[in-house]
């Protein structure tokens, strides 16, 4: 074989061989387990820490609130909407990191009158004019039993 072809083939074979060996050691262990990705990444992603709790977690302790809520307007709503993520509180109830949102702005996110907000889905008032003598909605409305204070 002529020297130049010989050298070219030698170099290319060496290069490809080296590439394949390096590649073998660089490919992650679980790559291709389920598809063209690292199989272990599914576990990585599903083992992430949760920040929000679950409504069921709340009712495991707060069954009194659950009973009040049962026939209420806010029945079916998750506690976490107003009370915040709460996972830390579930893990350690001593931690008092639970929100008690009650201001006009917060309640208004759902209940302020807004043309885009469907009226048949949620009761709305104009938070700018609705009982302006009161600063806080919960002065009249108990969020767990809405019309209680009105009677």
């Amino acid at each position: 074989m002529p020297a130049q072809i010989n050298r070219i083939l030698l170099l290319f074979t060496a290069f490809i061989g080296l590439f394949l060996v390096v590649r073998h050691f660089l490919i992650p262990e679980t790559f291709g387990q389920y598809g063209h990705y690292r199989g272990a990444s599914l576990d990585d992603i599903s083992s992430r820490e949760m920040v929000f709790a679950d409504k069921e977690d709340c009712f495991a302790c707060h069954d009194d609130i659950m009973e009040i809520l049962e026939n209420e307007m806010h029945a079916g709503l998750s506690c976490l909407i107003c009370h915040g993520p709460g996972r830390e509180h579930v893990d350690d109830p001593q931690l008092g990191n639970i929100n008690k949102e009650s201001g006009r702005e917060f309640c208004g996110r759902c209940h302020d009158i807004h043309p885009s907000r469907p009226l048949d889905v949620v009761n709305q008032v104009d938070i700018k004019t609705h009982h302006t003598e009161k600063t806080n909605c919960i002065e009249c409305h108990n969020p767990h039993a809405l019309w209680e204070g009105m009677e």
């Binding site: 002529p2 020297a3 130049q4 072809i5 170099l11 290319f12 590649r23 660089l26 490919i27």
Partner: protein, 397 residues
């Protein structure tokens, strides 16, 4: 990080209409503009070289090696623009070890390596092998060793062996032409295959990229040939220069036709995305598109070189026209890439608004970085011309 957010807040204040909230930040900046620009120069320069080799346009002989070495210099730098724009540059090797078969970008590594190693390097090596052997004998000391290594230990420079070099080189150039088309056509496909983006998604994109690549590559070699001749204080072979300019003229016509066809088609079909693209083209892209890309990058060079084809023009004037139009074409093609890459990200994929792009000076996506990647190929070119001087070849022959 704070600077980054501050920059984004500034962009947020310049948003027009409604864009999806994640679209304020452009993912691809000037480095991704440079990437197709550089590979385009590579492909174009190579095609010019193969005109001489395969299509036997012997008058282009003086630029054959120059074109090949220029292609190599730019090809070496091209992937660095890609790698340095990555969020995780150290993971770039993954594209080689686990390329995703359905991704246009994944094939990049392989086409690149194929083109670099199996086409360009081989062709240059075979072309220079005989000279390496001769230079190794002539030189002393360190340089002798360098040329010895470059000759890969071959020493046979009998007419038979040199003939074989030539034969192999010819075969590689023949393979090289479709490879050069592939190299740059696929860059066009990276953009053309994104169905989410109507500014990119056109079947003509790879074809337009190939022809614009040839335009830019030929213009670059035309200028380089003049500059290198000037620096070496040798007389320019006007027959060669005129022929390069003639091919540049043909390619300009083809490129102009294709790009016009693309736009005419878009305008006539006036699909869902037309309204927003219309505003884009007449608004945020109007200077870079109409002035730089079309007027000074296309029409003026066409008139300039076209006039030379029609009328008898003095040599000195021809040189000036070639130099000016060459620069205008290079700037024009740069802005063509700019208009594709940046333009495609300025409008919302919801078609209801625009974000803005402001080129920073420093940072990995800044202007200085881009200038560095743009200058580096010329440094490598200077080094390679010193190491592999095409004019010394002639003396040896």
């Amino acid at each position: 990080m704070e600077d980054h957010y501050q920059h984004l807040y500034e962009m947020l204040s310049q948003v027009e209409g409604y864009i999806y909230p994640n679209e304020i930040e452009l993912q691809w900046g000037i480095l991704i503009v440079l990437y197709p620009y550089l590979t385009g120069l590579v492909a174009g320069a190579f095609i010019l070289a193969s005109l001489e080799r395969v299509f036997k346009i012997k008058v282009l002989g003086p630029t054959y090696q120059l074109a090949l070495i220029t292609a190599l210099s730019f090809l070496i730098v091209a992937p660095f623009t890609l790698i340095s724009h990555l969020g995780q540059p150290l993971r770039a090797y993954e594209i080689m070890i686990t390329p995703n078969g359905t991704s246009a970008m994944a094939i990049f590594g392989f086409i690149y390596l194929w083109y670099l190693l199996a086409v360009l390097n081989l062709e240059i090596w075979l072309d220079y092998r005989r000279d390496f052997v001769i230079w190794a004998k002539e030189k002393k000391g360190f340089m002798r060793g360098v040329y010895k290594v470059l000759s890969l230990g071959t020493s046979d420079i009998s007419p038979k062996a040199v003939k074989l070099d030539d034969r192999l080189g010819y075969i590689i150039t023949v393979i090289g032409i479709p490879s050069a088309f592939l190299l740059h056509g696929y860059v066009g496909f990276i953009f053309g295959s994104i169905k989410a983006n109507p500014w990119w998604s056109t079947v003509l994109m790879p074809v337009i990229f190939i022809f614009s690549a040839m335009v830019s590559g030929i213009a670059l070699i035309m200028i380089l040939y003049m500059v290198v001749s000037f620096l070496r204080k040798v007389k320019i072979d006007m027959a060669c220069l005129d022929t390069i300019a003639k091919y540049l003229f043909y390619m300009l016509i083809l490129d102009f036709t294709l790009e016009s066809l693309d736009q005419v088609h878009r305008i006539y079909e006036a699909e869902e995305s037309f309204d927003i693209l219309n505003v884009l083209v007449n608004g945020r892209l109007n200077i870079t598109l109409f002035i730089f890309q079309i007027f000074s990058g296309m029409i003026i060079p066409l008139i300039g070189i076209g006039a030379i084809q029609l009328f008898k023009v003095r040599e000195q004037v021809r040189k000036i026209i070639y130099l000016l139009t060459g620069v205008m074409v290079l700037v024009g093609i740069f802005f063509m890439r700019w208009n594709v890459v940046i333009g495609g990200q300025l409008f919302s994929k919801g078609f209801h608004g625009f974000t803005n792009f402001k080129l920073g000076l420093v940072g990995s996506e800044g202007l200085f970085m881009a200038i560095m990647w743009m200058v580096l190929p010329f440094v490598i070119l200077a080094f390679l011309l010193w190491l592999l001087p095409p004019w010394k070849k002639e003396e040896a022959a």
